[in-house]
Amino acid sequence: MLDVNNTTRVEMDWSGPERLQMNMGPQHPSAHGVFRAILGLQGETVVDVDAVIGYLHRCHEKLSETLTYAQYPSIASKTDYVAAMTSEFAYVLAAEEIGKFEVPKRAQYLRVIVAELQRIASHLLWLGTWCMDMGGALGGGATIFLYCIREREDILDLFEALVGARLLYGFFQVGGVRYDIPDGWAEQCRSTIDRINSRIDEYEQMLVDNAFFLARTQGVGVVSRELAQDVGIAGPLLRGSGVNYDIRRNAPYSSYQDFDFRVPVETDGDCYARYRVRMAEFRQAISIIRQALDKLPAGPISSRPALKSVAQIRLPKGEAYARVEGPRGEVGTYMISDGSAKPYRMKWRGASFSNLAILPHIIPGHKVADVVAIMGSVDPVFGEVDR
């Protein structure tokens, strides 16, 4: 074992007890955005990590104080741009809770459908980029990445047909959703998810017997159940560490109680466990979308008359914390209203921010190459980390 406390720092060396400082990022291909990690190395083992974030900070919380309840939802997309639907969802839920807005059943189901499609799209991007990070051992370089992007493209096509935009939507609005599904969309959606369902089997076959993949993920980056909760990581990371908690089931919102689905949980807490959780979530998301399309009620998609001015939605004084289970875990908004058309204060609880905070706790003791595998298994989106 290395004695991490009993070392001296030197400028450059590679052997003995000296430490080498290595800068990783912010423009590193495996950083999934702009993230800088200052690694303290002893030989090839990482002994400390200083995570530097904030490169993408736009101060969304200040921005939200300047934009009205009608304007901000489409800006909310830009926090987590890989799962834009989720961020909009969290914002409108908080406003609806303060304003006691009813949301029509059809709108609730449409919200569930897009949120689950978004989960699939986001997990596809995670799987592709993560496998690419871990290199050519995984069935030839970019193979899985290109497969995943191909499938994700189909989901973006669905969003484009629905909203007109592929990445940042403005689909949600306070009191409902802005767009109803066009003719033929439901069939297109069903055939897309059927296709993705069969392709997921294909990816699993590529990975499950791959000795390199298993060697790089099993037992790597273990997060204990206790540490997971103490740091506040959420979503697949939390469930990969044996905590059976999913907001969709434990505190249902937007009619999630109407659907049957399983919450996958793994107990090992390593990269492989997080992989297993996400792979199971693909199938659960597909099942939820099928059920929602089957049961989609008729009726209006918004509970309030259309606005004549952006400042027309005024909420009573009050506060609310609304949260949704995003692809990366709990995405929440803590909103305080002072009775005007804009929030007095709004806090984004970005899932990626809390998830990334686990890195300094789990990376020390691993090799440099494992940092890449662990980073990818956390699936951070830096728009949401920095907000």
């Binding site: 200040k62 740091v231 809390s354």
Partner: protein, 149 residues
């Protein structure tokens, strides 16, 4: 522990009535901030550290807000403490929750709250040389700042 027991025990500890509702909103005197957080974690079982932030109530001063959850029993606490007008010191929760480290750094960055005993209190999202704390109500949205480099 169930929610009703938690409500009663926190109420008797603080000598106040804690209102019904989810999450449970608990107003904590600033001097007992760390003690109540430790009680929430160890006795009520709120081991999940959700978030920590602050609210600037202008002349009434800053309020620090933290949310912790007991995931098994479904108990959520919204702990709040008013620091008082002109005060920006607060006890750090890092000895209780490791997740408080980054959250308190962000709160320091955005509101200038100094968390006593924080092991590494420096800016996290903004660059080191940034002047001011943007989420304070006194900080104008269009505050000019020098070029990046």
């Amino acid at each position: 522990m169930i929610a009703e027991q938690a409500r009663a025990s926190l109420g008797s500890m603080l000598g106040v009535e804690i209102g019904a509702g989810v999450p449970m909103v608990v107003d904590v005197p600033a001097s007992r901030w760390e003690e109540i957080a430790r009680y929430a974690k160890d006795t009520i079982g709120c081991r999940f550290f959700n978030f920590l932030t602050a609210v600037d109530w202008k002349e009434q001063g800053l309020e620090v807000v933290a949310r912790v959850d007991n995931l098994e029993d479904g108990i959520s606490l919204m702990l709040k403490t008013k620091l008082g007008s002109g005060v920006n010191n607060c006890a750090s929760l890092t000895p209780v929750y490791r997740g408080a480290n980054w959250m308190e750094r962000e709160c320091f960055d955005m509101f200038g709250v100094h968390f006593d005993n924080h092991p590494d209190l420096r800016r996290i999202l903004l660059e080191d040389g940034w002047e001011g704390h943007p989420l304070l109500k006194s900080y104008a949205v269009d505050t000019p700042h020098p070029p990046y480099r």
